[in-house]
Symmetry: C2
DNA sequence: TTGAAAGCGCTACCAC
DNA sequence: GTGGTAGCGCTTTCAA
């Protein structure tokens, strides 16, 4: 119920020391005598004192604020990533600030806004917006890490899933399960991740002596668009017996075309979204190693902040196969 | 590429005015002459200046930071809410800070952390954790708004969906569609929202002369638990011909029990999650009016901040029926 | 090890 | 309407 904010001055007075002493007590690795430290801690606890992070950052310290730029939250994968990032940051006593484009789809205003909060760094995971966001962060002088794609200009480091490996894992699983005529339905044709997945998938198939039967992209990686793409592809090539794809495509084939799994067709999902393990789905998927990605981002952030933007290297995180019964109960 | 941060001093110098003039230019409703304002704006633009929000908040201004306390992101409804809140805050030049419990499920440390950032207020939507969070925010002196439940102590205001109305809408829809033996599968037995929904549902049924056939709760409102509950209920009362429930229950009945819709059984979903409109589902649902809820929260925040915690009143936001083809294509 | 004092960038108050 | 100045809470020299 304390109405007034407790300042270091209050603590100092109660502890009978100077403000400097209080500050030192809360500065890791500063030089304070045991007795001083103890009385300060005691006074601080009694008063419920916490250093004002805003005031601290004004003295040249890091603010502890990290911007997370994301354009999409509809896809559960995105929100999972955001949650994981926030958790990881919290563990380092940092705080995430979500930055989203405004209604017109523009990211600039929002970035300007959080820029005013002196964020130490930015994590850019905004899909199609990421290039623009990267540019803006660079000109604002905010050290940044990209997620989910490379920086085509090679200016900043990135963290992403090893998509080729994801493709290979999917291919191996399908072939091991007896697939003979596999196909791929991917995301945006211009999406780096989708391209890499496809490449890994096809490479591995050929290595195993299986000829991939076809592939198609879906314009925006949405459920609907995957649904459509799958219908078209399967109408063109009805002999396809297995697919590496996302949920939309799978539902289309099972529901619209009435194909049964695994008798008629087999699937590996491209995203280990929570839905994949629901009783109705039980879909074998390639995991998106969200926590590991977040961890890798934290490590790069650390490097960037202490040694500079140039010292951080891009990183790939290995996904793995999550094997589940592929049959639907219906 | 500018490396040094631009301060109001820089702008003042370039514009040939004082720091005060710069400050006034960026203070809505301050008194500056047109000519001064213009030259300041020009200089600021040229330098890429934005007032430092952290420094500003040190002068007694509001920080513009708002904590959003949430315990769950797995449920797409939660992340939708967070996104909507962030967007709404951004529109008011405010920034959201997500606060989540740490790995041990404790919210205190996280709250302490963001408390150090002098948040102006907190939005508490943490389900089962919200009572604890509310308590902590109160003792830290952070004005708060609850989402999705009432404060049992009546200390702070809340914003929530009108759950009784949701229940009534569902009942009317089912009866209009010819339902005779409806049942309800809800969330946590202790959950206020679920209880209210049930009450509205049953009241409306009785008003229409239809006797509800049964109901059950599911312990944690998860997909799995709804799935189980539905199987049990339907085994006990196989004559049930319609349900107001969530996804898990619906999938269980269609897939596990093989009941067809709408011939064998009809559904109204309790959440208008994105999935509801997927081609595979096309489920009629009660909307969760997320944007309106966010808007209502903003309005309460405004009241709290300007007139004090006590002046804000709890608010109910009306949901509506989203009617879709209830048949699955399969 | 300690305290006094300067200063981070900003706004508010005060004379002009 | 305008500029000087004090001060927000903190960390960090610098003497002691």
């Amino acid at each position: 119920m304390q109405d007034k904010r407790i300042t270091s001055d209050d603590v100092a007075r109660l502890a009978g020391v100077s403000r400097s002493a209080v500050s030192r007590t809360f500065t890791p690795g500063a030089s304070v005598s045991e007795s001083t430290r103890n009385s300060v801690i005691a006074a601080a606890r009694k008063l419920g004192y916490r250093p004002n992070a805003l005031a601290r950052s004004l003295t040249g310290q890091q603010s502890g604020l990290v911007a997370v730029v994301m354009a999409e939250f509809a896809n559960p994968y995105e929100s999972q990533v955001f949650y994981a990032l926030t958790q990881a940051l919290q563990k380092l006593d940092k705080v995430s600030m979500l930055v989203t484009p405004d209604e017109s789809g523009d990211i600039n205003n929002s970035l300007q806004l959080v820029g005013a909060y002196q964020v130490d760094s930015a994590i850019i995971a905004a899909g199609s917006l990421s290039l623009q966001a990267t540019q803006i962060c660079l000109t604002m002088g905010i050290p940044s890490v990209l997620m989910g794609r490379d920086d085509p200009f090679g200016k900043i480091c990135s963290v992403q899933t090893d998509n080729r490996m994801a493709g290979r894992l999917a291919a191996e699983h399908l072939v091991n399960s007896g697939a003979q005529r596999p196909a791929y339905i991917g995301g945006r044709p211009d999406g780096q991740a989708s391209q890499e997945r496809k490449q890994g998938f096809f490479d591995s198939l050929r290595d195993q002596g299986v000829e991939p039967l076809g592939h198609c992209d879906n314009p925006d990686y949405s459920y609907q668009s995957g649904y459509q793409s799958a219908l078209e592809l399967l109408q063109r090539r009805p002999e396809i017996d297995s697919l590496f794809c996302a949920f939309g495509a799978m539902d289309a084939i099972r529901q619209q075309l009435g194909r049964k799994t695994p008798q008629d067709i087999q699937f590996v999902g491209a995203d280990n979204v929570p839905m994949a393990e629901w009783p109705g789905y039980q879909l074998t998927t390639i995991s998106q190693p969200v926590e590991l990605l977040a961890q890798a981002v934290m490590e790069n952030l650390e490097i960037i902040l202490t040694q500079g933007q140039a010292m951080a290297r891009s990183r790939r995180v290995a996904p793995w196969l999550v094997s589940r019964a592929t049959t639907r109960n219906a």
